[in-house]
Amino acid sequence: MEKQIILTVQNIVKYYDNQKVLNAIDLEVRAGTVLALMGPNGSGKTTLIKILSSLEEADKGEVYYQGELINKENSLNFRRQIGFIWQKTLLYNASVYNNVALGLQFRNYSEDKIKDKVDSTLDRLGIVDLKERNAKSLSGGQQQKVSIARTLVTDPQIIFIDEPNTSLDLESIELVEKIIKEESQAGVPIVLITHNFYQAKNLGDEIIFMKEGEKVTHETPAEFFEQREELLRYV
């Protein structure tokens, strides 16, 4: 049975300073699947997921969430359904607890609810002991974990991850991979940008390869690695 379509984008075009960085991108994101986005530096991967998550406006094209066209009126509501883990994390000058609580405060959760959810999420990532530390004083890897906690705590219905491996040690990479598996098994679709083709192969249900703002391929890892070996030298 085909999995349910959660997100559809059609004919996305994006310019930065008269330079076309995305050209006619179409794609679908389905429930419980991991979509791996690969491609060389500057090929438009980050720009694409910023448009998919309503952080950036496309110059042309549409994004549909569960069949509904995203526009100015409903984009805040849409943004509150998604989670985004950045390539370079930015934590705020506050305790780990307050950083993780932020998304829930934006959504006007009660203090009690916030406390429960933050505590259980810190526990899930094994960083309960960092709770009272200032987030800015943490190591790169610890910060990345806090930023993952900050995203998961809001129970996102789609998760976008931009290159999670930067500044993580092996153990932490495994933790991220475990979480990606858990979330996708729970039905949450995940769009994962990665330069690591083993990761794309192991975690991905589908692989999109981009080059110069164009979608070059969109297929399963098996097909991809059978036929497209030559693309990998770009990554």
Partner: protein, 230 residues
């Protein structure tokens, strides 16, 4: 050496006895500089935000003007203000020349470009990432803005303190626009310049010690906030 030591002991005696004239001069200086810094901040922080945040025609020119003002000697700003508020100047009928209000006006012009450019830099440096991250966490535009201000508040405070340091220590403008009139417009810096040239070294030194203490306090506060920031 004796000369310096004698001056120092005279200075300490004056300070210890809370000499009323010294107290008056110090209070006027603090009042004038605090007012001008406050006005410059009320105007300058929003202006810095607008220039950092929005793209508009003439933005480049504004930044160039601000940078030029930043490096102007205080006497040149004094000259400019003087020409406006002297009897024949366009604002002559307001009778601001040789009044504390006149000095406040001039010092505001000195402080404004400092507040604007420094807060502009602080906001520009961190704005995109802070806003993007907040939006991705489900913030509304307004919630993202509030978070931005919370994050840059120490940097902006640093800009305000730097501006205060510039105006409390300047002498050229206060002299030209204020005229160093006893009990009216005599500030710490203009009094130091005059008393010392008059040979009242101890008196000048006492004022100098106050000024140095203020400068030290300013730098300690600045240092503290920069530490907290990072």
């Amino acid at each position: 050496m004796d000369y310096i030591l004698e001056g120092l002991s005279a200075a300490l005696r004056l300070l210890f006895n809370l000499n009323p004239e010294i107290r008056e001069i110090a209070l006027l200086s603090i009042m004038v500089s605090t007012s001008s810094t406050l006005i410059a901040s009320l105007l300058g922080i929003p202006l810095g935000f607008v220039v950092a945040h929005y793209d508009f025609q003439g933005k480049g020119i504004i930044i160039t003007i601000l940078n030029t003002l930043l490096s102007l000697p205080t006497v040149v700003v004094g000259l400019l203000v003087f020409s406006f508020i002297s009897n024949q100047g366009p604002l002559g009928n307001l009778e601001l020349l040789y009044t504390p209000l006149g000095i406040i006006m001039g010092q505001t012009i000195l402080a404004l470009p400092i507040v604007v450019t420094l807060s502009l830099n602080v906001i520009k440096e961190s704005e995109d990432k802070i806003i993007d991250t907040a939006l991705s966490l489900g913030a509304s535009k307004k919630q993202a803005m509030i978070l931005l201000f919370k994050e840059v508040r120490f940097g902006i405070l640093g800009a305000v303190i730097t501006a205060y340091g510039r105006v409390i220590g300047e002498v050229g403008l206060s002299m030209m626009v204020g005229g160093n009139i006893r009990r009216v417009t005599r500030t710490l810096t203009t009094a130091i310049a005059m008393e010392t040239s008059k040979g009242e070294f101890g008196f000048g030194l006492a004022l100098g010690i106050i000024l140095m203490t203020i400068a030290l306090a300013i730098n300690l506060v600045l240092h503290y906030f920069q530490e907290v920031r990072t």
